[in-house]
Every structure is written in structure tokens, then in C-alpha cells.
Symmetry: C2
Subunit: 525 residues, 2 copies
């Protein structure tokens, strides 16, 4: 059952297996199923679900697969060649691979003599037999078999003849793809190019490439191999993986599609690239890398005065691709390097038209500078920036005045007693409002008391809720007395906005960000 | 005064100029001076300090330079070729370049016809004259001049003849280096290789390479150009820079020294690579990227069971270099994928010898799993993990019992009154201790009250202080009621240790991390 189309370049994702080896990456079973479904919808050709022989969670992924109703992707189970000195049909790990019932099995085996002798502690001949027996056995059960030649490039550099013998063995045993792995990420692009070209001359089976980022070269190494002629690229979404990570499929896909003319995705899917990247980060609970190529929040952000100035003239002058091709956006940043151009552009985003010689622009720049010195950052708190702009350009009366707040947290472990309570005293349109609320923590309690105080005058406030809440120590060298920056994202179900607060006290910093959030919403309503 | 040695590959750092264009990167003047001093000590050959014509902070960097007493690095001021239709000696930006009095001036100029016509809005001939006049003028004032050919690769692809004409003009005007810039980061490694080789055939002046990471190829592109024959590599520490960042000099240096046999650093300095990377992150107040190649905390961290097992057999089996070559360390991670091997290895690190069949290992694994489900992570909280291990394997009586704590935060904005106070009630060796302290925020106040309570019995506690404090929302989709993980690093001046606490309440989470930190210190003393 060889369903491989050798004329086509395919994408092979191992986020759920190799990716989950990364530090701080944890997927639950339901996480894994959600990611697989999304990768399928996106158009990834192969999805490696896990190693059935390594842990029960990985095995149960495969038993839950039927419920997923995938549209097109093939699911691969990962495992290793049989153990030395053991009949293949008696190897428990190989048995679990069959029991997982995936249409594809990816087997890794040794091709570096050093590993054969020192890690497996077996003979070169036995390793060749392990490759042969394992592939033949799985092929005889009707599976598509992908052979991952672990440490292939190191093996080739150390003993070319033996490394090529391993490839030959896999080919003769019937592997559908043979994947050259730079397992420790130590190879340089020209080495990958030369060695891959040589293997292509020795082997008719379609080849694949599997790289790691230990030298910051994983994407380049994969692209060089594709250019040499391999037909499968393995990697992970956002480059998750052990140590410095695997090859980042996000960047590989964008480069293949936009730079190398390789159509690897179904039509229209490239525009979902950023969304896919954010989705997987969210599932893995990883803060998205703002500098991520193509999909990062900063990937098309312009801060330098010259650039912003030039962008106003010619959009493509400082961009290598149109950001919308990968679902991303151009952003103009406001910061201490900002010139007037940035403020004018930013105000325009907010619907405020400023003439270049408006003296208020300098006042806004001064105010930003003063707040940035305290630890504020407006680059990702656009609502706080809009308020600052509004207050400087056209002051308005406050919606309410805070007279007092008080937070109390009492804990008696021996009595298993804990209470966290906040009181808020406001004046709104001459009326004094005094509320109290409990919460899980001080910020939660304050947030509830504030909303309750405002509900009488602004009942729609019940629709506003916090979407995200982040805390950063601005100067992390002073221990608990450092300045704390709190960033809050709020939503009313239709739109989202971000605000920021800074203080030595985390409760006050949170309060300031909450306050801005609610003021911004009141101003908009 | 041409002091260029054309037979040697030199490193050119632009962290302080191009790097500071990155989102969230802010350097004060004293930051810039500290970074320059450190880069000089490390052995970087050229340090670009800023653009005197763009803002006063950049200019004042150059006036403060004399006090730095650099050992070997040359400082470069950055600027652009003269404006169109203006005599070079009358161009205010060129004048500021001379006034900055740096020995080296790096001038960027256009080599892409599209930019000449659409951004500069001038003629091809005038642009050539701008290159010629500006270089000649600065050379006549005795400066070393580096010409950065902006967007060179795009220019070459669009109009090879004109791009090469710009290079020729710079060469004839006397430039000491001509740097080929992939300004928008859009080129592929083989394009860089082919084009650089062609320019080398047309130009005798030493060439340099300046790349950006928009395609995740900046490091590969720089290395390919070095292999082709350029003699200067430009980049930034940790790859700071606009959009997705500049070429990461950290990875470039490690690859050049360890993989390509290019000795670009003074002897012994490569071992300071990780330290340099962390130093610059700290100055810029950027959280170090744990996955950073060579220098990241995870760069040599092993989690997968197979790998950890193999590492016990042969250290180099899964590592492309010896971590100590760049000042890094091997780490074995404890997490849900951990097998017994990880626990045994980790315990060994802590001086606890466990036999493989010790039934307590399973109890430790269960406890870790239970806490990880609540949001704990032990991978970077090694002291909390040590306590967990100790308590499971050989329980000990507690040093003190917490009876109660109470935190109160009151704020009256109208009266400009604010107080944050914590009380702590403990029992130690049968005695009841009751203390109160104020602080900048609730955690600070609690920390002070706790230390005061313990000081009577453990006076050395005054030497323990917090070094770092980080907060992470574990599930950021529930607003202020989400679980909060607090990570604390403490030191007694000699050693550092890290602990973790998780709760819905940030104050309680902080308390748990502080508690572990102090308990760990008491246990060690």
C-alpha cells in the first residue's frame, strides 16, 4: 500500500511528539487531539501523534483518533527499530506500534556507527538487521513506513560507507520515505546540501529532512535540502522541541510558498499561518514570540524614524512580503525613538487627524517619555495610549472619581480559613458609591468591587470581561520591591483592547490597568 | 589612515543602534556605555554606538566615550550619505557625524534603484554622487569609512548593473569596507552565496555582510557570505533588532569558532559567550530566551527518556558541542515525561543516591504529576524540587509553623495616602512570634514581616535576599481569577536558588515561593 506521490513535496509535523520534548511544553490528551484536528484542517500532510511505546498518554491519542474525523492528514505513530537480539514480532514496542493502528509508522534507527557501538552496544551487522527486520515486518502489516535515519549527517561525516549502507538497507526493506536527520542540530547548510545531494545519487526512495536548531540553522538546513531534492520536510509548529527546538514549520512553509514557488498548502491556507502559530502557542500555554519570523507581532512593526517615514511613501520599501499573505499586520510603534511621524500615523489609526505642525504632538511625546522612564510601555497597550492621546489633545471630564480602595487578605492555615476582600469608594455624578466584594485574590476582588460600583450608572459593564492578564517585573534586580508592569486585555464580546499600569505595588499596577480599561470602554460607548 | 587588515575576519556589533530599533528594547545612555565596555572586553572589533544625527541620546554617547577607556574595539558612528541636492559639507547630519569624533564612520546609502527613485525621489546619477561625495569627504577628515549598501541583494536582483555601480563608486571613493545588506531580511542562503561571490569578483575592497532574520535565515545567510569570502560580519547580541531582529552575533560567533575554524575572539573569550548574552538581556531588560542556540538555558537540557538514558551512557551522544565551550551547562529536566532515570539523575545532583528499584521514586513521580496539574513547574525551580524530594524521601520536622498572615492595602488618592502592611504570626520551637511590616506592595510587606519573625532564631537570614521575581498566569483565559505561578530566585551572596508557588491569589502564590525559598535556605544552613 504505497500511497506516496514522489513528485510532490509533503509537510510532516511532529509538534505532538518531538515538539512536546521541549522544556515547558506540556500537552494533555485533549490538547493533542485539538492540535491534530487543526493541523489537518490547515493542510499538513503527515501528523506524528506520539510514541505509543513510551507512555500511556501517547498510546491513548491513537485510540481516540477515530472520533477526530480527519479530512486529509495521515497520522503517524513514532517508534524505534526492534531491540538488538530480539525477534521483531516479540518486541513489545513494535507490537504497540501496530496496536496503535495508525496508517503510517515512523521508525527511527541508527546510522552513526558510534551510536551503534556505544549507545546500542551492538554490532554494525545487527543494526542493519534491526532496520531491515523492523521495516519489513511493519510493511507486511500494510503500513506506510517512514524511516528516520537518526544522526545521519554525523554518521555520514564519520563513516560515509556505513551511513549509506543503513539507507540502502531501509530502501531494500521497502521504506516509503527515508528521512535524513540532523538530530543534534550541529550541521552547516553547505554540509547538508552536499551530503543530501550525494544520498540522492545513491537512493531512489523519496527522501525527507529533519533538522534541529542548535546552531540557529534549522530552517536554512531544511530549505537547502529541499533545494537539493528531498520531498518531505519534518518540523514543528513554532519550532518547539528539545533543547533549542526543531525546525520551525511556520517559517519553512512561508519560505516554500512565498520564496521558492513550492505550493505545499491547499489554496487560501497560507493566510491562516499566523492564526495557526498563535493557536498552538495558546494550547501549549507558551507566550508567543513577538519576533517570530512571518507571524510574530513585531514581524512587520516599524519603529525607526527613517523607516516609518519611508513607509508613508512606499509601503513595500522595507517589507520583504505583504504581511497579509501570512495573516499578519503592519504596525507602527510608539516609543522613545518615535518621531512625529509615528504619533501622526498612530493617531490616524485611532481616527484623530493631526497636522504635522500641531504643538500638541511634542506634548504627547514628552508625556510618553516621562511614563516610559517609569516603566510604562505603550507598544502593546494601544487603549492606554489612545487615552493618553485623548487626554493630552482634548481633555474630557472624568467618568468617576476614586476616593478610596482597601484590600484585605487574611489567611489562617491551621483553621483552613482564607478571605480576600476589597472595598471601593467612588463618586459618580455627585453621588457617593461604596461597594465591597470578595475574590480569589486581591485583583479579582478589586475588579469585582469596581464593576459593582459602576453597574448602577453603566449597566452594560457586565459585558466587559478580562481576557488576559500579564505581569512583568520592570527592574528584576530589586526583589519584591521592584516596579511591576501589569498588562490587561479586555473584551466586550465584540472588540478587545489592551491597557497597562505600573507601580511598585502589584495591586496598584493592576488597578491602574483595570481603570484604563474601563475608562476606555466608557469613552467608546 | 586605513588600518583595516584585509586578511582577517572582523566582528561588527550594532546592538546599540540597529538592535535598539527592536520592539521593547530601550537603552539609557548609561546602559549603552556599559554594553560598549563589555563588548570591548569581550573582543568585538567594531561597536556601532548610534546615529548622532537621529537623537540627542545617540550623540551624547559619543561625547561620553573618552571616559570608557576601551581596550581594543573601534567605535563607529552611523549615518547616511548626504541629502540629494546639498553640498556634503553643508549637510547637518554629516556634520554631526564628524562632531561625534569616532574613529570609524558607517555610512548607509542606496543601491536599489527602486529606493533611489521612490524613497529618495532623486536620480540614479545623483545617488552615485551622494555615495562618492560623502565617503570622500569623511575620508578626507581621516576617518575609517564603512559603506553599508542598503537593500543590496534586492537591488542586485532588480538591476545588477546599477547595484554594482554603487559598490564601484564606494570603492573608488575610498571606503575601507563595503557591506552588503539584506535590509528587509528577504533573501535565501543560496542567493546570498551567489551574489556575494559575484561582487567579490568585481571589488577589491574587503566586503562585509549585514542580514536580518525575517525569513529565520539571518545566521545562515551571514555564514554563507563568510564562506564566500566576506571579511566583516555585522549583527547584534541576541539578535535584537527591528521586526524579527538582526543577525544574532552570539550564534554567528559560536558557529565561526566551533564549526568553521575561524578564530574571531581573543583566546579564552568564547567561554564568556553565555555570560555576554545574559548581560545584554539584563541591561535591555529582556527575558532571556531559554531556547537560544548555544547560550539558552534549555540549549543543553534533556527531557526525553531515551536521550537521558543515552546520556548516562555517552555524554556526547546527543550534544553537538561541549556546553562548557560557550559557558553553558548540561541540564536534566524533571517533568511529566520524566522516567525514573531523570529522578535518579536529579537526586544525584542534589547528593541523594537512589537505587533504581526504590519504591519512593514512584511516589515522587506521582507528587510531581499532581502538582504539575495545578500549574506547578519544577524545571526551573530546582530548590522547590529538592524540598519535594527531601519531604517525600526523608520527612523532617518543620522549622516553623505559620498560624496566620494578614495583608492590608489602603489607598486614598485624594489625600495622597497609601499604606501596605502585612502581619505574620508564626510558632517556632513552641514560641509564638507576631510581627508587622510595611512594604511597597503586599509581597514586599509579607517578605519583610516573615524575615523579621525569623530573625530572632536565624539571624543569618538578613543575608538572604531576592534576586529575581517572576509572575506567570497559568491559564490566561479566565481573567483576574486565573491561577498564578510565582517564581522566585534568592541568594545568600554566595549561592542562588529558585522556588515556585501556585495559587489563584498572587499574594498566596508569592508567599508559597518565599516560604520554600526560606525553608530551602534553612535546610542547607
Amino acid at each position: 500500500m504505497n500511497t506516496v506521490n514522489p513528485s510532490r513535496l509533503v509537510l510532516y509535523d511532529t509538534t505532538l511528539r518531538d515538539g512536546s520534548q521541549g522544556e515547558a511544553i506540556h500537552f494533555s490528551l485533549s490538547d493533542k487531539l485539538r492540535v491534530a484536528k487543526r493541523l489537518d484542517e490547515f493542510g499538513i500532510n503527515y501528523i506524528e501523534g506520539g510514541w505509543p511505546g513510551s507512555n500511556p498518554k501517547d498510546f491513548s491519542f491513537f485510540t481516540h483518533l477515530k472520533d477526530l474525523e480527519l479530512k486529509q492528514a495521515k497520522i503517524a505513530a513514532f517508534g524505534s527499530t526492534r531491540r538488538a537480539q530480539l525477534h521483531v514480532e516479540e518486541d513489545p514496542q513494535i507490537k504497540l506500534l501496530l496496536e496503535a493502528q495508525s496508517p503510517v509508522i515512523t521508525l527511527f534507527g541508527k546510522s552513526w556507527l558510534f551510536h551503534v557501538l556505544e549507545v546500542l552496544k551492538t554490532t554494525p551487522e545487527e543494526n542493519l538487521a534491526m532496520i531491515r527486520d523492523s521495516i519489513k515486518f511493519l510493511k507486511s502489516h500494510g503500513r506506510e513506513v517512514i524511516f528516520d535515519a537518526e544522526h545521519f549527517f554525523d554518521g555520514y561525516k564519520a563513516d560515509k560507507a556505513y551511513a549509506l549502507e543503513c539507507i540502502k538497507e531501509a530502501e531494500e526493506a521497502g521504506a516509503d520515505y527515508i528521512v535524513l536527520c540532523d538530530t543534534n542540530g550541529g550541521s552547516l547548510p553547505w554540509e547538508i546540501g552536499t551530503i543530501t545531494t550525494d544520498v540522492l545519487a545513491h537512493c531512489k526512495t523519496p527522501l525527507g529532512i529533519h533538522t534541529h536548531n542548535d546552531c540557529e540553522l534549522a530552517v536554512a538546513n531544511a530549505l537547502v535540502a529541499v533545494k537539493a531534492g528531498v520531498q518531505q520536510v519534518q518540523g514543528t509548529i513554532n519550532g518547539y522541541g528539545e533543547r533549542t527546538g526543531n525546525c520551525n514549520l511556520i517559517s519553512v512553509i512561508a519560505n516554500l510558498e512565498l520564496k521558492m514557488g513550492q505550493k505545499v498548502l491547499p489554496p487560501g491556507k497560507l493566510k491562516e499561518l499566523r492564526e495557526l502559530s498563535l493557536f498552538v502557542d495558546e494550547i501549549a500555554n507558551i507566550k508567543p514570540n513577538p519576533r517570530a519570523p512571518f507571524v510574530g507581532k513585531s514581524a512587520f512593526a516599524h519603529k525607526g524614524g527613517t523607516h516609518v517615514n519611508a513607509l508613508q511613501k512606499v509601503l513595500r520599501s522595507y517589507e520583504h512580503i505583504d504581511p497579509s499573505a501570512v495573516g499578519n499586520n503592519r504596525r507602527v510603534l510608539v516609543g522613545e525613538l518615535s518621531g512625529k511621524s509615528n504619533i501622526i500615523l498612530k493617531a490616524k489609526d485611532l481616527g484623530i487627524i493631526l497636522e504635522e505642525n500641531n504643538p500638541n504632538i511634542q506634548r504627547v511625546l514628552n508625556k510618553i517619555k516621562e511614563l516610559e522612564a517609569k516603566g510604562y510601555e505603550f507598544e502593546s497597550a494601544e487603549a492606554s495610549f489612545a487615552l493618553l492621546l485623548k487626554k493630552t489633545l482634548s481633555p474630557y471630564p472624568p467618568f468617576f472619581n476614586l476616593m478610596e480602595y482597601h484590600v484585605s487578605i487574611r489567611q489562617l492555615p491551621s483553621k483552613n480559613y482564607k478571605v480576600c476582600e476589597a472595598t471601593v469608594k467612588l463618586s459618580i455624578r455627585g453621588e457617593r458609591i461604596y461597594t465591597v466584594a470578595e475574590g480569589d485574590g486581591p485583583v479579582h476582588a478589586l475588579d469585582r468591587a469596581l464593576r459593582e460600583a459602576l453597574a448602577k450608572f453603566y449597566p452594560e459593564i457586565s459585558q466587559v470581561r478580562l481576557e488576559d492578564y500579564k505581569v512583568r517585573i520592570v527592574d528584576s534586580k530589586e526583589g519584591t520591591a521592584s516596579s511591576i508592569r501589569v498588562w490587561v486585555e479586555s473584551t466586550d464580546g465584540k472588540k478587545s483592547w489592551s491597557t497597562v499600569g505600573v507601580s511598585h505595588d502589584i495591586v496598584e499596577a493592576s488597578w491602574l490597568a483595570l481603570f484604563d480599561s474601563i475608562e476606555y470602554w466608557l469613552l467608546k460607548s
